[in-house]
Symmetry: C2
Subunit: 318 residues, 2 copies
């Protein structure tokens, strides 16, 4: 693991994460974490699931959104916030903003999952569906209105918030040997990996992304944060077309490996994970299980493997 262009001193560390544990509302901490009999049978290991999918807004994103919005200055708050997202971050910002009495501007791609579009509308956000370049449109709106961006994965407050998940895992299963995390833009793994590795350097942290939305693998390869020209996947929660230098630096510093799963296998990974866990997850949450099932991650030496069930926002289930 080598260091990128972000200095080690700029990484989000344990003290920042522990401060966030104190600040985050109790209602979004301590999501269920338990050994799954079915998953353990499927994978031939001792498999645990961290159920962020049960969060308000249906994904882990609510931790970061609440933490980031709580950190706004009065001026930022009165000028308004904006977020862009394929869905889970949009839902989380809409939820968190509503909790704090703000109506956020939310930009989603026109091809976003209908379930997530409907949810953002229902939470009362000011929604805009964007046909072309999502990020360009967001910056246009920021220039025009002076909005503050609630970044989907690159803000320190987001990383410190996802770090609280790592704290919960190491507290509940101190002898966990591997933590497997789905990767989109890298916000989830950046925080979890910091918390886990700084607590126990011998625990492996492995990221998984789909072959058709592999911005982290590309960024690791190039040694700098890349932007993909296209990022689409059945695992729509992982389709961020970009990452940031902060996320990349965290992955370089704290992640053992980022594994790529073939897009054409995501459906079967999702079906197998729902059958084995009996959790009504979205496809994004299944790529870690799929990677182990298909031999892309070897868990033969593991005592306890923890999978992050990152979200459950899908209309594919009843």
């Amino acid at each position: 693991m080598t260091q990128g262009s972000t200095a080690a001193s700029e990484l989000v560390g344990l003290s920042e994460i522990r401060e966030t544990v104190k600040r985050l509302p109790e209602a979004v901490q301590h999501t269920p974490l338990f050994r799954s009999h079915g998953l353990s049978e499927l994978l031939g290991t001792n498999a645990w699931v961290k159920c962020e999918m049960f969060q308000p807004s249906g994904s882990f994103k609510v931790r970061g959104a609440l933490n980031r919005i709580a950190s706004l200055t009065d001026n930022e708050r009165s000028d308004g916030v904006i977020a862009f997202s394929a869905g889970n971050h949009a839902m989380a910002v809409a939820y968190a903003a509503r909790q704090q009495g703000i109506v956020p501007k939310i930009c989603m791609p026109a091809h976003a999952v209908q379930f997530k579009v409907d949810a953002v509308k229902a939470l009362g956000a000011d929604l805009e569906l964007v046909e072309g370049d999502l990020v360009a449109r967001v910056h246009e709106l920021i220039d025009e209105h002076g909005y503050t961006l609630v970044h989907p994965f690159g803000d320190r407050e987001i990383l410190a918030a996802t770090g609280t998940i790592g704290v919960e895992i190491t507290e509940a299963i101190p002898d966990v040997t591997t933590v497997i995390v789905p990767v989109g833009g890298g916000g989830l793994i950046s925080g979890i990996a910091a918390a886990v590795k700084l607590h126990n350097p011998r625990c492996r942290v492995i990221g998984v992304e789909p072959s058709t939305a592999n911005v982290m693998t590309e960024s690791l390869h190039h040694g700098s944060a890349q932007t993909l020209t296209s990022a689409k996947s059945m695992a729509d929660g992982l389709t961020a077309p970009l990452t940031t230098e902060l996320n990349l630096a965290h992955v370089q510093a704290f992640v053992d490996e980022v594994v790529v799963v073939p897009e054409e296998d995501v459906r079967s990974m999702w079906e197998a994970t729902v059958r084995a866990t009996r959790l009504a997850i979205e496809p994004s949450a299944a790529v870690g299980v799929g990677a182990v099932r298909d031999g892309l991650i070897d868990v033969a030496e593991d005592r306890k493997v923890c999978f992050i069930m990152c979200g459950a926002n899908t209309d594919l289930l009843p």
Copy 2:
């Protein structure tokens, strides 16, 4: 609540249940129990879920099956065991017997859910699909082969085992005010109600059964254990066509009310429960949530309501 033909001294009590807590394997105790944000929102109450659906064999039935088979004499064990069931008890007996090195005879109705038939086969049981009278066929086989019946809900060991679920609930949420339990033949509610009521008489215990499989309501009405000529429901786990005097006596002694939900509403109850809880349950597990949603159970005065997610064996999900 009046007493039926089973004397109070014959009911399964707390000491028998607590002995069973000590005897049951740790692996099937302490299933996840947590507050569901989505369900609490849907129902406007503080809703908790007891996830028996995560058990080996996919339902609570494994507790009773393991306990009953462990109690067999050497002679009973060598002569073989038999069970009849629409599915969940069949799967549990097949699983528990295999754990203890026995191949059980299992009779299932010919119209049983394919998922459950396949699972029983996969567990290596000696399966027979019965077109006509299931119970008559089982007694024919017992007369012929000297099998011991592992009753789906009427044995003391079954009630003591389902009672351990009640112990776990009262230990984890001492201030629970209502526990809502799906009812088929009554094995689940008999044990839970005894454990909960003998621990805290003020906590309500409410049963729920479908209108087309309402043997407990009929039995309460007649004051004796009835057998229905027909019991069919989308909630196939609740289609026991009969109950026993022991189950009825437990319901009379410990259950506040048994509520009937219209069969035609079960699908919508199931869909709403999966959406709200993000648990991939079978329809049987949804009737309690449905009864509250549709105003058949009033929870306005409740502090904490606990729903038993009894099973997850269905091929209706991916």
